[in-house]
Amino acid sequence: MGIRKSRAEKLFDIGNAALLILASVTILYPFWQQLVISFSQPAEAQRIGLHLYTAQPTLDAYKRIFQGNTIFDAYYWTILRTVLGTVLTVLVTSMLAYPLAKTYLWARKFWMWMVVFTMFFSGGLIPMYLLVKNLHLTNTIWALVLPGVASAWNIIILRNFFYSIPEELEESARMDGANDLYVFFRIIVPLSAPVMATVTLWTIVHHWNAWFDALIYITGNEIKVLQILLREVLNDASQMSGLNPLLAGSEADMDGQHYTSESIKAAILMVVILPIVCVYPFLQKYFVKGIMIGAVKG
């Protein structure tokens, strides 16, 4: 027999639900608005106000973005850097965090201090650029992948999680003849799935959104990541008048398609966030658990 709720409790539930619905709408509506604008005609895209739907949907903005093969190349490089960067980051970070979690590591505090120090002080943009350039990494994918491989923050999160794994598990494995690498890859890593997934997700998002390093280290068109390409497309749309002085103040496209920088901006947003939105649900269940475990323990 269910517990009957009092009037106050029911009112509270209604208020609670209303607030949560309001919060959800507040969070979801901007996304919906951009989606609608991306499919809107020029005049409607420019209109200030709510965009709940579009009376005359058009794919012109998407057609503009997907003209040619360039965007597919950009997707390729972005996916490559994301995959390479994530794999290397997780591998290097975990292999650095694991020994730091061992109390018997010689000069452990010193190594930890060196890692933490980098969170407070950084050489800055110019030394980083000089380092990457002197290592002959500019104009290669490695300039986008290697500099961010060992992040102090991720190391600390993982180290704290590794603390929480009972040492008895390792000892019993060693008694059975397991070496350090076996223990790490076959015991520690599987147990660390939540925090690994967290670090993986952070790294994926970072690499997917990163554009500044590509701007600085890549000077040619051979390696063009999605964010750089989309930035150029956006500049193209808003600088159409700059390309042809006769069109100063004009919005129309020379080839007759109807698009404006507003609908292109919105279409770009959709193109960029859609893959991440698709990946996120698969890793979400680990996310909260992993971040809390990594943060609390140790």
């Binding site: 420019q46 701007l215 600085i216 040619g220 600088q239 069109l247 100063a248 103040g249 129309a252 020379m254």
Partner: protein, 547 residues
């Protein structure tokens, strides 16, 4: 256990060695060119080295914006063949140009051809050369520049002084003749006819027109502006009537004064505030950008379009795809006309913002080229040809006839399929922004439309034209560099917060959120904090070049 200790000690040693290696200085220079030094002696700066008898082919690194051509692009290849050198182009979005150039400067890896974006780079990051070298190795641009300087009202000596650092040339530009002329105002002539009014000339005439507009279209607003993305252009025709500008340093009675500090600015704001209250100004102007303003015009919601390039056709046949064509398509009865800038008092010429003919910044060459003057001369020749050799300039700007453009009525028209950034990247043209020493008018003029030449000539070049120098006060910004106090403090940095606050105050006074007394107090505070210092610095540093 002992093995593990040995292994971990070895790894620790490797890590330490790596850290220490990173601490040591390396020259990091590439082997392909001499290592540039930050404080190279200037002993060769005034030298007159003769170029090698046989022209050597160099790889010239050029730094530009927007268009990054594919290295194998056909037109880039054709341009390189024409030049006899290989131009390696690196392009970056406008907003990041300065940042990347600073990185190049800091890492001693300057491009060969670029436009210096900061005073520091102009002084210490550029190769210095003499006027004789300029004349010898950039003859076409030099000759064109001398002609064009006259039109800007700048003597050769004054121009060379602007390009110089410590008496030596650090940059050069011909400027851009088109930019010194004002942009125009376009008014709805059909509305004037409908209201039985003549073309407004004075502010009073304008008020009559605006009142009539509001009476007929109570839900529309005849005036609007790009408050969101270009507040400096906001209502400038009406500011200009009072002889002032939003943020230019103007020459008044032999002194440089800042537009906002002029007493007339108060009068201008009072007028605009009254007009806002009367409903003549779109209340959403502060949130409107270029696209929104254009949209208002196209939909017939406004009566005035400002900042219009004189190349625009405002009657049929229209420039294809222009906002004037769009207006006409939606409203076949719409008629447009070029309007003069309004006048406040007969003795006050409208202060129309235009761009400086030439500034301190033009095309520059990397400091490292002082060590290799042959290559410097090659880079100079490349810059000269890109801007002033007709064939090269046409390839750079339009591509190849029959491939990327066609001649239509004697004018080049870029083909639709390549008329985008992507098309230009693939084909390899259009990468000239900030990479050439200005615009050679004799070369550029041949590609201007008849409409442009007619309107430009009639309204701007002709002394009787409504936008001519005779009938308007061309309000150049007479300060074209950093303002520093006598002690060396950067006043632009010091005054940045107040400059940004000025936009808020400007808008607030117009919409009625702040009073004119608030404006007075703000200006007084601004002047006290940094404005008086700025005025003193402007006059100390820049007045001389205008005298």
């Amino acid at each position: 256990m002992k093995k593990r200790r040995l292994l971990s000690s070895g790894l620790a040693l490797c890590l330490t060695a790596g850290l220490l290696a990173g601490c040591s200085g390396g020259n990091g220079s590439s082997t392909s060119s001499p290592s540039p030094t930050a404080s190279a002696t200037a002993s060769n700066a005034g030298g007159k080295q003769e170029p090698a008898a046989e022209a050597k082919s160099y790889t010239i690194k050029l730094f530009t914006t927007r268009i990054q051509p594919d290295p194998g692009a056909p037109i880039l290849k054709a341009i390189n063949e024409n030049l006899g050198h290989t131009v390696e182009v690196t392009a970056i979005p406008d907003a990041n140009y300065t940042e990347k150039l600073n990185l190049y400067y800091a890492s001693n890896d300057m491009p060969d051809i670029f436009q210096a974006a900061t005073e520091e780079i102009r002084k210490n990051g550029t190769a210095k050369f003499t006027e004789e070298e300029l004349k010898t190795h950039m003859p076409l641009s030099y000759a064109a520049g001398l002609e064009q300087f006259e039109e800007y009202g700048v003597t050769k000596e004054a121009a060379m002084k602007r390009f110089s650092v410590d008496g030596q040339l650090a940059s050069f530009t011909m400027g851009s003749k088109e930019l010194i002329y004002p942009y125009g105002l376009v008014i709805r002539q059909d509305m004037l006819d409908d209201f039985g009014l003549e073309m407004p000339k004075t502010l009073e005439d304008w008020e009559v027109f605006l009142k009539a507009f509001k009476a007929k279209y109570p839900d529309k607003y005849p005036l609007t502006s790009r408050g969101k993305d270009s507040i400096i252009q906001s209502f400038y025709p009406f500011l200009s009537a009072f002889g002032t500008t939003y943020s230019n340093w103007q020459l008044k009675d032999g002194k440089l004064v800042y537009g906002p500090f002029m007493p007339e600015m108060r009068d201008a704001l009072a007028l605009l505030a009254d007009w806002y209250k009367a409903g003549y100004i779109n209340p959403e102007w502060i949130t409107m950008d270029n696209a929104a303003v254009n949209n208002d015009w196209i939909n017939g919601n406004s009566a005035l379009m400002q900042w219009v390039n004189l190349g625009n056709a405002i009657s049929a046949p229209f420039s294809p795809g222009s906002i004037f064509e769009s207006l006409s398509l939606g409203n076949p009865n719409a008629k447009m006309a070029w309007a003069p800038f309004p006048v406040w008092k007969p003795e006050v010429l409208p202060a129309v913002p235009t761009y400086e003919g030439i500034t301190n910044y033009g095309v520059s060459f990397g400091k490292h080229l002082e060590q290799d003057r042959e290559k410097l001369y090659a880079a100079m020749k490349v810059a000269d040809q890109l801007a002033s050799d007709k064939d090269t300039w046409m390839m750079l700007t339009y591509g190849i006839d029959g491939q990327t453009y066609d001649m239509v009525d004697g004018l080049p028209v870029i083909r639709k399929e390549v008329n985008s950034n992507e098309g230009r990247v693939k084909e390899g043209f259009g990468w000239y922004f900030l990479a050439i020493p200005g615009r050679n008018w004799a070369v550029n003029e041949t590609t201007k439309t008849q409409v442009y030449k007619e309107q430009f000539g009639k309204y701007a070049q002709n002394d009787d034209g409504i936008y001519s120098r005779k009938n308007t006060d061309w309000a150049f910004n007479h300060v074209n560099g950093v303002l520093t106090s006598p002690s060396g403090e950067n006043l632009d940095v010091k005054g940045k917060a107040k400059s940004e606050e000025w936009g808020t105050v400007f808008a607030s006074v117009i919409i009625g959120n702040k009073s004119l007394e608030d404006f007075d107090n703000f200006i007084a505070a601004w002047k006290k904090e940094v404005g008086d210092e700025m005025t003193e610095a402007a006059n100390r540093l820049y007045l001389e070049q205008w005298q």
